[in-house]
Symmetry: D2
């Protein structure tokens, strides 16, 4: 992805696997991992000080433009998992995140997503102009500053 | 539900059970039946001549106010099912639908939903005033006219 | 439902609304409430001392035979909600639960589910014979004993 | 992926976007595309003569080991879409598929999945030994033979 490659700290968010996430193989159906990634980045940016809900209230959206997942080990019903999320690329118009799904220290899956900032008319926007405060917060995460 | 009790014809819509609808019991997870009901009523009103999409484009929404499902027999992956839907109550501000999920003539589940007409400000509206053409179409279904 | 009518204490479980639970009306799609009910009863029986996962490992399943939901107010993305769950009927072969979905003290929806104990061959079983310890735990919840 | 790179014919499967697939951005939530990919490959292998259901009945599973999706344009409620699927890599122990999601000739998204053959003990198996008939069918698809 275009933009600065960065490596923010990992942010951890704990979840428990729900019954409806399983399938008849007896494991979590593979697309739910991508849902978990969304939860991970929502919690990362909440911790950074700008809940995604507020972004949308200010007319900014951050849809996913690319997704990849590599599956190592299955997750099971009722597992307690950690979603680890970090910012991996950063520019005024784009973001990328990396993810790991971990159970008791074992990596179950890893992945990434790419995103673009859009306004309510679905036109690309530069975050550094549309919302300087948000841009500054992300920059701080990107640079691993406290 | 308030409103005329009616018994429209059954409208049939065919589906196939998808893998992500199964759970680790090896059957369809129970909440998916409620999704199927939504597909059934969407197809009923499409056949009646007013796709639900057009309703929303005209500023009318029909959220669910009540749902019930009675489960008789499990559905399995790859099953070919019929969603049977009919209008069961009808007034200028409310609708109710009845549903049956059928496989090879066997009833797997039945249920019902109730709905209210809302405008984009989430205020109740009388359909006979807000959209007389839609109201007439529904009335025709309710009265089982061709 | 057949079985003793009981009124256990309410067990509370906190959740946050996720983005994929919303729909284009800007609210939570109605079938997700039924998923939340499942989370609520899973946490109730976990607190009672027998995680549902262990039940299945012992060859016992508790599928849903009936579901109803009454919707009062919409839930929104990122809402912090409480799932309140209690046991409402109880016999050696059946269970029923009641639920409330609450945000800041306001009731968004309420509902109920009914269940039957099955073995791995999907035949009904009497829990008091198949798993006396589990039966005793449920009886304790049903009778609101500490 | 290891295995022969192949380029089978595209198999087309038509779907309609359902309400619960939308989110509050007013478009399809991004993880549903990965569900659609699963429907596409299920239909491809059904047309090839071996429904995935039968594979599992014979003790063979084909879990996803990698997934990627590139999103170009949003899909909307009630859209009629085509899921295009083809086999892109092939060996006795692995498969890969490519996908396109198309609306009225416009590409909305593309992607790929990788898979491994496992037995019921979740151990890798060679399909050419475990199910020579299935292997022959896949080989025929891979080679674009009629």
């Amino acid at each position: 992805m275009k933009g600065y490659a960065v490596e923010s700290q990992w942010y951890a968010h704990n979840i428990r696997v729900r019954y409806q996430e399983t399938d008849q193989m007896g494991v979590v159906y593979h697309t739910h991992y991508a849902n978990w990634f969304e939860w991970g980045r929502a919690e990362l940016i909440r911790e950074a000080g700008m809940p995604y809900k507020e972004m949308e209230e200010r007319g900014l959206m951050l849809p996913v433009t690319a997704l990849d997942v590599a599956y190592q080990l299955p997750a099971y019903y009722d597992d307690e998992l950690v979603i680890r999320t970090r910012l991996t690329a950063f520019s005024p118009i784009r973001l990328a995140f990396g993810y790991e799904i971990v159970r008791d220290g074992s990596l179950l899956a890893s992945g990434s997503t790419e995103h673009i900032w859009l306004n309510e008319q679905w036109k690309p926007v530069r975050l550094d102009r549309a919302a300087t405060d948000m841009y500054a917060l992300l920059q701080r995460i990107a640079l691993c500053e406290e």
